[in-house]
């Protein structure tokens, strides 16, 4: 369908106004929201992701695309629900206790939303109890944690310890990231995955969900 290709193209260019008007046009023409999502929006988003990984486009371009994507998602969401589309997988994210940095975590959230996940962002300075309580209430299977200092990244282990203490190990999975965090540290504290950057966070979440399905 030509309009879906145009949505994907404008999304790649990060033109939010065009993406919104084309999405409205597609809905008005009776195209299913699920089709707009899969055949237009996710196609454009995926193309930008590929270019980003190949260093052909950069963070500001990706954020322009993600903004357009989120505006379009808001438009199609009500129709998606009435169409009975399957519920999106939920991911809880936050910056760990004691840490007030949130730009990296915000970028992770934006990219995950763009990739079609429902993100519940708890903000910064999040206690282990709050991470787990929210995951339970929302029925989420993934908790994503961010930290920017060596003094605060220890808070990630507190969350993982609490998951284990509550017998949720294997049911509630964790992804960690942030400047001082490494693959080795993630392994040491028992995290299920480590993501170097926001685009890799998407792959980690997809892999974990696939493994635990």
């Amino acid at each position: 369908m030509e309009i879906l290709t145009r949505i994907a193209e404008e999304l790649e260019l990060g033109d939010d106004e065009r993406v919104v008007s084309l999405t409205e046009e597609a809905l008005a023409a009776g195209i299913k929201a699920q089709e707009i999502l899969n055949g237009g929006l996710l196609v454009g988003m995926e193309a930008v992701g590929v270019k980003f990984r190949a260093h052909e486009v950069f963070l500001p371009d990706v954020l322009l695309t993600a903004k357009a994507m989120n505006l379009a998602l808001k438009l199609i969401e009500p129709t998606l629900i009435t169409e009975g589309a399957p519920e999106l997988d939920k991911v809880i994210i936050g910056t760990v206790r004691g840490d007030l940095h949130d730009i990296g975590k915000n970028l992770v959230g934006i990219m995950l939303r763009g990739a079609g996940f429902k993100v519940i962002d708890l903000g910064k300075d999040v206690s282990p109890e709050r991470f787990i309580k929210t995951a339970r209430e929302e029925g989420a299977r993934i908790i994503g944690m961010s930290a920017l200092l060596t003094t605060t990244m220890v808070g990630m282990k507190d969350v993982i310890d609490l998951i284990n203490a509550e017998g949720l190990s294997g049911k509630l999975l964790t992804v960690v990231g942030g400047a001082p965090v490494s693959e080795e540290y993630a392994r040491k504290i028992g995290a299920d995955a480590y993501a170097f950057d926001a685009s890799r966070a998407i792959d980690c979440v997809r892999d974990l969900l696939a493994q635990s399905a």
Binding site: D15, L64, K67, G98, D99, L107, T152
Partner: protein, 234 residues
């Protein structure tokens, strides 16, 4: 010498290339028109909302030695341990852009304006370095009015093996509260766009070291190499 400096916000507007490089763009990249538009809006907001101010205070070698010793568990051997004893002059500093910038970034993100929010955040990170450059060069000018074979570089707690806990004795020595900078229990400074450290002045060679310390393996910036390469040659 202790100087409290209030800068004009337009003095600290960074070079757009530095802001883009902070976001992973190569120095010669040609940004898209939309990205250029974001940049000019972000720089305009920076000049409206940044309130750059700092303190720089000269410090003797023995006073700094006490700060370094009180920095908790720094790595066994660090470049700074070999550098500062050779300095002709030392000074400690703290510099901040104030809280309004971070609040503005947060509000842009809350309102789905994250392309602009992120651009402003990266611009502010580059601006704080520029503010520190201004303080450092003012101090250097006063220490070394005659010019000659002299270079200064900044070293911060949390970098190159100097424990981040070093911020406690350092900020106390400077009295950072006088410009509204507070240190939390995890050594996080508020406002967020704040940086602290030591300025080491002396012959350029004293700053040269090999990056073969254990912690260099975990470093993903290796910025020290660029800093050393940019030192004046004699």
């Amino acid at each position: 010498m202790k100087v409290r400096l209030v800068m004009e916000s337009n003095e600290i507007i960074p070079d757009p290339v530095d802001v883009l490089m902070g976001q992973g763009l190569p120095a010669d990249a040609v940004p898209a028109v939309r990205v250029k538009e974001l940049m000019s809006r972000a720089l305009e907001m920076l000049s409206l909302f940044a309130a750059p101010r700092g303190i720089i205070r000269s410090i003797s070698r023995s006073e700094f030695e006490r700060i370094y010793r009180d920095s908790g568990n720094s790595e066994g051997a660090t470049p700074l341990e070999g550098i500062y004893p050779q300095a002709e002059q030392l000074a400690v500093y703290v510099v901040t852009l104030g809280d309004l910038i971070t609040q503005t970034v947060e509000s842009l993100f809350r309102n789905n304006e994250y392309p602009l929010g992120a651009m402003l955040d990266f611009a502010a990170s580059a601006a704080i370095e520029k503010a520190a450059d201004i303080m450092e060069s003012k101090w250097r000018g006063e220490q070394c009015a005659g010019g000659g074979n002299y270079a200064s570089l900044r070293y911060s707690p949390g970098y190159c093996g100097w424990n981040i806990e070093g911020q406690r004795p350092l900020l106390k020595f400077i009295d950072s509260a006088a410009i509204g900078v507070q240190l939390g229990e995890n050594c996080l400074m508020l406002p967020l766009k704040t940086t602290s450290g030591l300025v080491v002045g002396g012959e350029p060679e004293i700053h040269v070291f090999d990056n073969d310390y254990g912690f260099c393996e975990r470093c993903n910036t290796l910025e020290c190499r660029t800093r050393i390469a940019e030192l004046p040659k004699t």
